[in-house]
């Protein structure tokens, strides 16, 4: 009886993307296998085959975008069990959160993972934005057809979605903290002249914060906003690929081109196949500079795994050390003193406290100026900045490039003011929004009138 001779070593791939061994793609033995890995592995399909080594530097991007994405993943995953345990009704919401915190096995840990990820995601997304600004990474460099400015706009929208997701989640425990933070937040919308009250009524589904508000915030929090953020996230990543990777890659390419004696424009460098003539083009001299590129598998995969798994580890450990607060049940009759918005809105709360002014008998509510106009202007300016920034393409992908010194300084100043106001609002505001140094004791106040 004839036996089929088995090959001693795994057969070479029969075709690109076909390989007899599972999980082989994590340890490619050749450039060919490394390239095949990206094509054949679903989880890797959004990576390029080769990446510029400098783009992987820890100290260039600090991997803040990856960390934000890891936190988003963690939020979705930790949100799933909470979805089964939480009841979005004013009678039972508080009780169900209390059960999650005290009765459900591992409930408090899951809630803590969810809450800490949310807080850290706001911080990580903000820091990612700061990094992209300071490196001028929204600028187009050497590649053709790049539209990095639009990816920046998408990013600003994702920051707003992150904030709104966090804010809608804030109400769900239906405790005093939640109720009054949302009272203050939605009354800011009501301070818009003429249409304000209608806007607030649409937001909260009535004149008072009640069941319609809870179900609205719940639906936004668990379906609408995550879906929107997920869609924008996918587009954000796709655009990064279309624009030729991180801005730093352009920088390296530009530098090389200048140094090269006679550059040969020979190849259209596309990352996802043919891109109808609008793909970024980079000269072969830099594309195939072996000293500057590495295979995405395993180099990019390894670093991304370190960032993602590291984030998971930090959150998991933190969540078992830090309990999530749950105050008294929401009581519309008693305003806690002080009543504070979530920490990432406290810089706005600081501003709305100081911006009421009167001109000729006509008083402008500080809430409108500080809560609508000013943040609206800031966000608008932020979104439009790539078109205002007139520096040359060489400034793309460089920390503190000399030609962008002034705008970087102004930007940093605004960031510092926002951070400082947030710190003041968080740690130095006591009862009736009075200023206290952290070491000063707050006066004892009667809790009831």
């Amino acid at each position: 009886m004839a036996t089929l001779a088995k090959p001693a070593t795994p057969a070479a791939p029969a075709a690109p993307g076909v390989h007899p061994k599972r999980l082989w793609s994590l340890r490619p033995r050749s450039d060919r296998e490394a390239g095949d890995a990206v094509v054949s592995n679903f989880l890797l399909h959004w990576f390029p085959a080769k990446v510029f080594k400098p783009s992987l530097d820890w100290t260039y991007s600090y991997w803040l975008g990856t960390i934000s994405a890891a936190l988003l993943l963690l939020l979705v995953v930790s949100g799933l069990p909470l979805l089964f345990l939480y009841v979005p009704s004013v009678e039972r919401a508080y009780g169900s959160v209390k059960d999650i915190e005290w009765v459900v096995t591992f409930g408090s840990w899951i809630r803590s993972v969810h809450r800490l990820s949310a807080h850290l995601m706001v911080a990580a997304v903000f820091l990612h934005l700061v990094r992209v600004f300071l490196t001028g990474a929204y600028k187009n460099g050497a590649g053709r057809g790049q539209q990095r400015e639009w990816n920046w706009v998408i990013g600003v929208a994702m920051l707003l979605l992150t904030l709104f997701l966090s804010f809608t989640g804030y109400l769900l425990p239906w405790d005093q903290l939640a109720y009054w933070a949302v009272t203050v937040g939605t009354n800011i919308a009501a301070s818009i002249p003429w249409i304000g009250p209608q806007v607030r009524e649409l937001m909260i589904g009535g004149r008072n914060i009640d069941q319609p508000t809870l179900i609205r915030f719940y639906a936004l929090h668990v379906i609408f906003l995550p879906a929107a953020l997920g869609a924008l996230f996918a587009y954000h990543m796709w655009r990064v690929r279309k624009d030729g990777g991180l801005a730093r890659a352009d920088r390296v390419a530009t530098a090389r081109e200048k140094a090269a004696d006679e550059p040969v424009r020979s190849k259209t460098y596309t990352l996802l196949g043919v891109a109808r003539g609008t793909a970024p083009t980079i000269r072969t001299s830099t594309l195939e500079a072996r000293d500057l590129t590495v295979n995405a598998v395993p180099d990019l995969v390894r670093r991304a795994a370190v960032a993602v798994l590291g984030t998971f580890a930090v959150i998991s450990v933190l969540a078992s050390l830090v309990r999530s607060p749950l105050e008294e049940p929401a009581n519309p009759l008693v305003t806690p003193n002080p009543a504070k918005a979530p920490w990432y809105f406290l810089w706005l709360q600081e501003i709305v406290t100081d911006t009421t002014f009167t001109v000729g008998g006509f008083t402008v509510n500080g809430a409108f100026l500080g809560g609508v106009i000013l943040p609206g202007l800031l966000v608008g300016l932020l979104a439009a900045w790539p078109w205002i920034d007139r520096s040359r393409g060489e400034a793309a992908g460089v920390w503190f490039h000399g030609s962008r010194r002034r705008q970087n300084l102004v930007f940093l100043l605004i960031v510092l003011v926002v951070v400082a106001l947030t710190i003041v609002g968080t740690f130095m505001r006591g009862p009736s929004w009075q200023f206290f140094w952290p070491w000063q004791a707050w006066p004892e106040l009667p809790t009831r009138i």
Partner: protein, 169 residues
């Protein structure tokens, strides 16, 4: 293809796109409109708050209505406890000595002042803003006596001037 045919094709293409746009737009508008409540289940704005005799001389806070009811003998008035800045409930602090001030052309004995816990707005006992971000004075609401059982009735939808007083029999 003749010119007429081409024009007709262009026209039909535009008509199709337009009809699609109108269809999607209408559906979007219908979905959004469904989120605007047609019926309010909020608490009614006209509320009976008890017999005048049950109110102490001075001030009584009604948490459900977020309202301060002041009494001086047979004279009543009601001041909202909702801060005009961002809607927190203000707190009343008793003055060490009641003061008499002239408010809206009438004398008023003021026994309290108000402070908002959220952003630190401060009001005098008749609702005027002393300091802080509040843009307007606290509202005064209409009080009346119910003809059927003699209870005080507050109308939270009817704002009145600061010279308003209800004198009971």
């Amino acid at each position: 293809m003749s010119r007429e045919q081409k024009n007709r094709r262009d026209f039909l293409v535009k008509l199709g796109i337009g009809a699609g746009g109108v269809g999607i737009g209408t559906q979007a508008a219908a979905s959004l409109r469904s989120l605007l409540p047609n019926v309010s289940y909020d608490a009614p704005t006209t509320v009976k708050v008890g017999l005048p005799a049950d109110f102490p001389d001075g001030m009584k806070f009604l948490p459900e209505q977020r309202l301060f009811v002041f009494r001086e003998g047979k004279v009543f008035h009601a001041v909202s406890a909702v801060c005009t800045h961002l809607g927190c409930t203000v707190r009343a602090e008793a003055l060490p000595q009641p003061e008499t001030v002239e408010v809206g052309g009438a004398q008023l004995r003021v026994t309290h002042r108000f402070a908002c816990p959220c952003h630190g707005s401060k009001y005098t006992g008749d609702g005027k803003v002393v300091s802080g971000p509040a843009p307007r004075p606290l509202l005064w609401f209409h009080l009346s006596v119910s003809p059927d059982d003699g209870q005080l009735v507050v109308d939270l939808a009817q704002e009145v001037g600061r010279d308003f007083r209800l004198t009971t029999a």
